[in-house]
């Protein structure tokens, strides 16, 4: 992770923690039964009345899909429709990890516009990966540790086809 990426990641983590405190719970989740949303950035309200943005929108007769400015409002009018909860996460990433010049691009630099478009697509890819497979690496690490305890440090020697 580059220093810039690290700073962006730290900023998002800090925002998440601040949201937890605004919500009033260490492990907040949407209070609508069956809703799995636990990202503090996608939640609103105050414990125990916490709702995700999608349920909040539905409760207020608003659409749960929202238009996301892929490269930032200052760079391009192009939008894509994404669920409200994901919109919060991806917007947070945009404002937290992009450089301020790229996001605002006050002079309309074409290169910064291009950079913003690439960053926007990377964020979408990140979101897809985050939502679909982000749990896998930690699971694999834990499984490795568990197998090392249960079978031995070189557990894969017992499974030749896996090494």
């Amino acid at each position: 992770m580059s220093a810039e990426d690290a700073a962006g990641w730290e900023a998002i983590e800090d925002r998440r923690d601040e949201r937890r405190r605004s919500l009033g719970h260490r492990d907040p989740r949407c209070s609508v039964p069956g809703c799995p949303e636990t990202d503090p950035l996608a939640l609103t309200g105050v414990h125990p009345e916490i709702l995700c943005y999608e349920h909040y929108a539905l409760r207020n007769d608003r659409p749960w899909l929202e238009e996301h400015h892929l490269a930032g409002r200052a760079n391009d009018e192009i939008t894509v429709a994404i669920p409200g909860n994901d919109h919060r996460s991806i917007s947070e990433r945009q404002s937290g990890s992009w450089s301020r010049e790229t996001l605002r691009n006050p002079d309309g630099s074409p290169l910064l516009k291009a950079a913003a478009a690439i960053r926007g697509w990377m964020d979408v890819l990140w979101l897809i990966l985050e939502r679909s497979v982000s749990w896998v690496p930690e699971f694999l690490e834990q499984l490795d540790a568990w197998l090392a305890v249960e079978i031995g440090p070189r557990w894969w020697d017992h499974f030749p086809e896996s090494s």
Binding site: E10, E13, D14, D17, R21, G24, H25, R26, V46
Partner: protein
């Protein structure tokens, strides 16, 4: 019986600060603290070696969810040379570390982590390091009373930046509190929208504090890293204060790693206990004890449950352990015995758990004739019946008449220029009636053969049981599940500890040294927890220091009260229950008195006792032992005492088997145990050991070698000798240089007393030097003049370690001569005489050399200070003031033989608060340590009419009184109230 001496007596006071009135249950705001974020900052500092101990260089690590995210160094440009800064830059660059100056670190890393990110701050002896990065400090102010008497520390020059408040709570622990500037923050937003998030006030984890709470004592970082078996162990460095080098920077960096690893391991250990109290709120063993009570859902103390006069009555009966040197400066053979877990056992025997889980505690006046009758018929057999102990929850008012009840008084001797309060189970007659526990009455009956005259008796009983109590697993071990409705938590804890001790023995026998060491620390922690719940939390009173006098109401048992003022007030802890505390300590004293009475009935003597232990004079076959003041005559015609045969001692010990309240499958046999030191280390057979006592808390046990030289019993590192009165002195020799210095001190003392030739240790001629740490504004004031013209870095700041030396009396008597000398802390005794010492109360910067010089010659710039040898003479002379010597005079420095009781009478009882032993901790001369006990001064009275003064009134209650008094004839003025008149007759 001779006429009683009239002494000045005192009892514990129930003094309620005006600020506490009406707020019997404080603290509960209904707001929820979400705890720290996933960030934590661990840091350590290295300092200059002058008294200011200014920051030179520090290292830090920033972790997120346990993963290292950032690591760096920081430095103080004012204390490093250009070459050292260059070295730092090179080292940081090579190692990939961030390099910051002190301000950048304090504002960009430290405050950013603990304030904005709400991360946890980790360190070992954290207050020391915090003051190294501070830029200013002042006495703590604000609404938070628990921080009064502490400091507010600024680490940033920005006046709007958050500050950290620090207050020492015990020798190894401090409270921390982050002050939050006004303005928007997440918790405030939450509350504005109807939430209940509490403002965060920082999260601090001091590994020294948490280690002490979990394992007892005050562990060093090196000791903790060994105990917790951290991947990295702490190194030693000898390069403090010299020019920086790369090795030293590596050592500093490693220290941070070790601190982080220790913190991580300690948190895991604490989490294994299954307690919900957050780890950053654990300050001591008592915190762990209270956490167990909270886990069970047990309700804390509510002041309204007891009326103030009743609390005053209970506190009047409260005394600590009983300690006596009965045979002084005369070696006697015997058997050393002690009670298994004495206070917890007294708790369990009296079934006091019923009070802990009770819905409420009720009390009623008992029929005096019935109580008197049962006391009159009490004998040893009664006391040795477990059923008897269930009925001891009674306090009685007695009119003492040659009764032996705990008596707190100033036992002045003929040589005393000053004296302090000491508690003794003394022969007492007349004076004011006194409240005591029924257990103390029974003990008196056993001692004197007659019951005290009872004037009133109040019995206590538990009513109902609290709802919604929860079962807990002690130590997180499901085998030790305690259901508070069914089980006695203390009994189960003692049983578990016994199991752990057995495991430790097995581990030691099978050569598993690390495992044995770990189990030893676990069992010590369990001992601390059992004691804290059975006794410590019940009498927990926190002393709060104030800059201005505070109004206090002192309540009396008879229902009266008087207002007074003090600059130190007391606030009860959350599980304060003085009834439990006084019943437990009273029960402990009764156990000891029962053993003494058994010895007495057998015709024997005891030489020494201390709370739960007794040295019984005994030999294999019994017989006479020469002893001045003894009641027997030896064959040679000298005075002697009777030594019991070992067999009689064994039978005596066995008498306590019936009082064993524990599961016999876990703890079998008598609760009075013959200690291992009575056994030969090789053969395991009983051996002759001897005891020599100087005074209470000053005794040693030993055996003689083939040449008759004394050798302390016990094992290396745990010899059977007192440490009391020596703990404030710095070791004169390094631990690596042969025998432990206190062992050597005692060996020489034994040889001197026994008349065995022994050269004094070489270090007796070295200046005796104590270690001092300034931890409160009151103590810091002693260095006001010293600090006056120095920069902040150079000033003596809180938590600075220093050496302190005391000039001999003749030097101190010289006009303008220093009374107390300070210098940087220096562990090497030889280098202390080469250092520059300064008068702690002078700002002129004049330095002195110190020397030990029997000629007392006056030399400019050189001061003769007390040597270890001088202290040795004083230590040996310390009299057992509470007893009389064989000739009937108050014990004096050279009294020898069997001491006798003093017959005393207390006409006047003063009310005093919590006593503290700050002298021993700080090594300050006594004149700098006023108010060693919280004084509840008597009411100030109007000089005119004599009514108590209120509020800001100092001399007159009204203008009318002032005018009337002033208009009187001068001859009459002397008859006005002095402000120290009437209080005394408490009943």
């Amino acid at each position: 019986m001779n006429e009683p001496e009239i002494l000045e007596g005192a009892v514990r006071a129930w003094a309620v600060p005006d600020s506490m009135k009406g707020s019997s249950r404080g603290g509960a705001t209904g707001y929820v603290d979400l705890g720290p974020s996933a960030w934590s900052l661990t840091f350590d500092t290295e300092t200059t070696t002058d008294p200011g101990q200014a920051l030179r260089v520090g290292a830090y690590q920033l972790h997120h969810r346990g993963r290292l995210r950032k690591e760096g160094l920081f430095y103080n440009p004012a204390t490093l040379s250009a070459a050292e800064v260059e070295l730092l830059q090179g080292f940081a660059s090579d190692e990939g570390l961030e390099l910051l100056d002190r301000d950048e670190f304090a504002e960009g890393i430290l405050l950013d982590t603990i304030y904005r990110r709400r991360g946890m701050l980790i360190g070992h002896n954290l207050p020391f390091d915090l003051f190294r990065v501070s830029v200013a400090h002042e006495p703590a102010r604000g609404q938070n009373q628990s921080l009064r008497g502490g400091f507010t520390v600024a680490v940033s020059h920005d006046p709007r930046a958050p500050r950290i408040q620090v207050k020492r709570t015990s020798p190894g622990a401090a409270f921390f509190h982050l002050t939050i500037p006004t303005g928007a923050h997440a918790e405030g937003r939450n509350r504005r929208r109807g939430g209940n998030s509490a403002n965060h006030h920082g999260y601090f984890l001091d590994t020294a504090t948490l280690g002490g709470a979990l394992f007892g004592g005050r562990p060093s970082l090196a000791g903790l890293s060994r105990l917790l078996d951290t991947p990295k162990k702490k190194d030693r460095s000898e390069d403090h204060g010299v020019e920086l080098g790369r090795d030293y920077l590596r050592y500093l960096r490693d220290d941070v790693t070790v601190t982080w690893q220790c913190a991580d391991a300690l948190r895991s250990r604490y989490e294994a206990l299954g307690l919900t109290k957050p780890v950053w709120k654990v300050y001591s063993e008592a915190s762990v004890g209270k956490a167990h009570l909270e886990e069970m859902g047990i309700r804390g103390w509510h002041r309204d449950e007891f009326p103030d006069p009743l609390i005053a009555t209970i506190l009047e009966t409260y005394h600590g352990g009983r300690t006596e040197a009965r045979i002084r400066r005369t070696p006697v053979p015997g058997v050393y015995v002690d009670f298994k877990s004495q206070y917890p056992t007294a708790f369990v025997l009296q079934d006091l758990w019923r009070f802990v889980v009770a819905e409420k505690i009720i009390w009623e006046d008992l029929d005096v004739a019935t109580v008197q009758g049962s006391l009159d018929s009490t004998d040893l057999d009664t006391v040795l019946d477990p059923a008897f102990w269930k009925g001891l929850a009674v306090l009685v008012l007695i009119a003492p008449e040659e009764d032996r009840v705990p008596t707190r008084a100033k036992y002045k001797g003929s040589d005393d220029a000053r004296s302090s309060y000491n508690v003794a189970v003394e022969l007492r007659s007349g004076g004011s009636p006194v409240w005591v526990t029924l257990a103390d009455c029974v003990a008196s009956t056993l001692h004197t053969g007659k019951a005290p005259h009872v004037l009133r008796a109040v019995g206590f009983e538990a009513e109902g049981t609290q709802d919604d109590l929860r079962a807990v697993d002690i130590g997180g071990d499901a085998r030790y599940r305690v259901d508070p409705y069914e089980d006695d938590f203390i009994r189960r804890l003692v049983e578990l500890r016994s199991d752990v001790k057995a495991d430790r023995r097995r581990a030691a026998e099978s050569g598993q040294v690390d495992q044995a060491s770990r189990l030893e620390s676990v069992q010590r922690a369990m001992k601390a927890t059992a004691n804290s719940i059975a006794y410590g939390t019940g009498i927990e009173i926190n002393v709060i220091e104030h800059r201005k006098l505070q109004g206090v109401t002192v309540h009396l048992p008879d229902g009266g009260s008087y207002p007074t003022k003090g600059d130190r007030t007391e606030r009860p802890g959350s599980f304060f229950n003085p009834l439990l505390a006084t019943l437990v300590t009273g029960g402990g004293r009764l156990l000891l008195a029962t053993a003494m009475a058994l010895v007495d009935r057998a015709g024997g003597e005891y030489a020494y006792c201390d709370t739960d232990s007794l040295f019984i004079v005994a030999t294999p076959a019994g017989g006479l032992v020469p002893c001045r003041g003894g009641d027997e005559l030896s064959a040679e015609g000298g005075q002697a005492i009777l030594a019991l045969p070992w067999k009689t001692v064994d039978e005596l010990v066995e008498r306590f088997s019936d009082l064993n309240p524990y599961d016999p499958r876990v703890i079998d046999g008598s609760i009075l145990e013959i200690e291992d030191e009575n056994l030969d280390l090789v053969t395991g057979d009983r051996r002759v050991i001897e005891c020599l006592a100087i005074a209470s808390k000053r005794a040693a046990r030993f055996v003689r070698d083939i040449d008759g030289r004394p050798e302390l019993t016990g094992t290396a590192g745990n010899r059977s000798r007192s440490e009391h009165g020596l703990g404030h002195l710095i070791a004169p020799v390094a631990p690596s240089e042969g025998m432990d210095w206190m062992d050597r001190w005692w060996q020489h003392l034994l040889c001197t007393e026994l008349g065995v030739e022994d050269e004094p240790p070489e270090w007796f001629d070295l200046p005796a030097v104590g270690r001092i740490t300034v931890t409160s504004p009151r103590e810091e004031r002693a260095f006001r003049d010293y600090n006056a013209d120095l920069t902040y870095d150079q000033q003596v700041k809180p938590w600075c370690f220093m050496s302190v030396a005391h000039p001999v009396t003749s030097e101190r008597a010289r006009p303008g001569a220093p009374r107390c000398l300070i210098a940087p802390f220096e562990p090497d005794a030889a280098r202390r005489t080469e250092m520059e010492w300064r008068d702690h109360s002078a700002s002129d910067g004049e330095s002195y050399e110190i020397r030990v010089d029997p000629s007392l010659e006056i030399k400019v710039g050189s001061v003769v200070v007390q040597s270890y040898g001088d202290y040795f003479v004083e230590y040996r002379r310390h009299p057992e003031r509470k007893f009389a010597d064989p000739d009937g005079r108050p014990c004096h420095p050279w009294s020898r033989g069997k001491l006798h009781l003093r017959h005393v009478r207390l006409d006047e009882l003063k009310r005093i608060g919590k006593e503290s032993n700050r002298l021993a901790e700080t090594a300050l001369p006594i004149e700098l340590d006023e108010h060693a006990a919280v004084a509840c001064r008597e009411p100030l009275l109007c000089r005119g009419c004599g009514d108590p003064l209120l509020g800001r009134q100092r001399m007159w209650c009204s203008e009318t009184c002032r005018i009337r008094y002033r208009s009187r004839a001068p001859a009459l003025r002397g008859s006005g109230g002095s402000g120290n008149s009437s209080f005394g007759a408490n009943n």
